[in-house]
């Protein structure tokens, strides 16, 4: 077995993170120190799902900001809608939003996809930010940190 403690201390993987300022609607001051997010794939090309995977990597270490992925929308503060919707995913998406506890916020990342139903057309409430382009992991983290900062 490796002495992981020493290995971990000597090989620091986490990077300093500087967020880009962006004007984003706030949710509530209650989330200043902690934010729980639930990503939902509604038909993206898997690129955004992989960005979520990357967001959990050691470089970003999102837990230090108090950001956590939840396993159920019932525990989430922010719903990340990834991609443009396929027809069959509209009702599961609405049900997922229905399950979110108030106050909740929605962040939509379309990912630059040329096909599918735009989440804009579904008349979702509480949308804090809407991106038509692809967001990389650091940009997503930036958005989340901005949401947490707003009073």
């Amino acid at each position: 077995m490796k002495p992981w403690v020493f290995y971990g201390l000597s090989n620091r993987l986490t990077e300093r993170f500087r967020k880009k300022d962006d004007k984003i609607k706030g949710l509530s001051p209650a989330f200043r120190n902690s934010l729980h997010i639930f990503p939902i794939d509604v038909g993206n090309d898997n690129g955004l799902n992989f960005e979520m995977e990357a967001l959990q990597s050691s470089q970003y270490n999102i837990h230090r900001f108090g950001i956590f992925f939840t396993d159920s929308p019932r525990h989430a503060d922010i719903l990340l809608i990834l991609g443009r919707c396929t027809e069959k995913m509209v009702s599961p998406l609405k049900e997922t939003i229905n399950q979110l506890p108030s106050p909740y916020g929605i962040v939509v990342v379309e990912g630059g996809q040329p096909f599918g139903i735009k989440p804009k057309e579904l008349a979702l409430s509480n949308v804090l930010a809407y991106y038509e382009r692809h967001l990389s992991a650091d940009e997503v983290l930036s958005v989340l940190l901005n949401i947490m900062e707003v009073k």
Binding site: G43, N46, G47, A54, S57, S58, T86, L93, F115
Partner: protein
């Protein structure tokens, strides 16, 4: 011979077939009975897997479409009377975007964009297969440096996909330290992609009759960074094989027999983990350093070992090719315009054989058929998962490296 696809053209049923490294279409209707996987291919957008099971206390333990365990939208219908999995069938229709239909009557450039959006993490493979189909139609020869850069792009994609599979398996077994270090490699690889091709998923790198890379990329620096990751990965892999807790979960999990794997047409690491020495890359240019990774057991562990070895091999191939590329001039040939006729393009994607059939009329796409490895992978998963328990789900599913985006185009 392997049946890869079934499609209709002019109200006739055609078959897309592979014989060694020869790909062709045929309308010989006797193939319908000859191949076991005909029905699987016909129903690939509706339901993949085995028949539902009934009986006292048996119920459908539906998993999906929105879960935290499987990030993608798709439904697993798991039939069980508690713990024991009796039958699995997969409904990919939640992710179905109908891209093949959308591509019809589109120009080549638009078609390429659609192909890259089929499955983001296989973007290079899809784009490459699409472009090769067009090039096959136009019958153009590519210069060596273009071929080598395409190999680099394809193998870079293989690297991060294989790390992702390994990472998911480690996370499933709560190997948190291992997961953290692997996720570090994963993110580093995505950053290397930016430096090489200006996109984290290498979208836009492969173009018809050419390749587009970041002109300011320092290949020596990339090689150095890759070699550091290689050492780190090797160390982690050795450590992972020593962890009983980890190996216990994936050893003898989701066993797939060689005969069945061949019957349903699985390709790629899944097939190589069953002991079949089949890799189309060996005959291609740019793979001088390649050695095919093989395992015999056909379980999750074997699939993981194959992927880990392939990671190391691919890294060597990349470094080799980066050294051999001398100039970054003339990376784009002629613009393929007003193409007529049909072409078949293929390549060995991270999860197996990916084939595009394209028919054009004066530069406009008339028919497209995409044969993706995940369709066969899902079938293999549904068979291999039978008899195991639900706790094995992530070890079984993640080890195949299959994606709904790839399956439900």
């Amino acid at each position: 011979m392997r049946l890869l696809g079934v499609f209709e053209e002019n109200e006739r049923e055609f078959f897309l077939l592979q014989d060694e490294d020869r790909f062709f279409k045929s309308d010989n209707q006797s193939y319908k009975d000859e191949f076991f996987n005909y029905n699987l291919i016909k129903n690939r957008d509706v339901l993949i897997g085995s028949e539902p099971v009934e009986g006292e206390g048996v119920f459908n333990f539906r998993y999906g479409p929105v879960t935290a365990g499987v990030k993608e939208a798709g439904v697993f219908n798991i039939y069980t009377y508690g713990e024991r999995i009796l039958s699995v069938n997969i409904d990919p229709s939640y992710k179905k975007r109908d891209i093949e239909r959308l591509m019809i009557k589109k120009s080549i450039d638009e078609g390429l964009k659609f192909a890259e959006f089929v499955c983001g993490n296989f973007a290079v493979s899809h784009a490459l297969a699409f472009c090769r189909a067009l090039e096959g139609c136009a019958k153009v020869d590519l210069p060596e440096n273009v071929i080598r850069l395409r190999v680099v792009a394809l193998e870079l994609e293989r690297l991060y996909n294989h790390v992702d599979v390994f990472l998911k398996l480690a996370r499933g077994a709560s190997q948190n330290v291992l997961t953290s270090h692997l996720s570090f490699i994963f993110e580093e690889l995505l950053r290397i992609n930016i430096d090489f091709g200006s996109n984290r998923f290498l979208k836009g790198v492969v173009v018809p009759d050419g390749v587009q890379v970041n002109k300011s990329a320092n290949f020596e620096d990339l090689s150095k960074r890759l070699k550091i990751l290689r050492d780190k990965f090797e160390e982690l892999y050795e450590h992972a094989l020593k962890s009983y807790n980890f190996i216990d979960r994936i050893h003898n999990t989701a066993l797939l027999s060689k005969e069945f794997a061949l019957e349903i047409g699985v390709t790629g690491p899944t097939l190589r983990a069953c002991g079949v020495d089949e890799d189309l890359r060996v005959k291609e240019k740019g793979y001088e350093r390649l050695s095919v990774a093989l395992e015999e057991d056909g379980d999750s562990l074997a699939r993981m070992e194959v992927r880990a070895k392939e990671f190391l091999n691919s890294l060597d191939v990349i470094v080799d090719n980066l050294n051999k590329v001398k100039s970054l001039d003339k990376l784009k040939g002629v613009d393929l315009k007003d193409l007529n006729g049909e072409g078949i393009g293929y390549n060995e994607s991270p999860s197996g054989l990916l084939v595009y059939y394209v028919r054009l009329n004066s530069g406009i796409l008339e028919n497209v058929y995409i044969s993706t490895p995940s369709v066969f992978g899902f079938k293999a998963f549904s068979e291999a998962f039978k008899g195991f328990i639900f706790t094995d789900f992530s070890f079984a599913f993640d080890s195949f490296g299959i994606h709904f985006a790839d399956c439900a185009r």
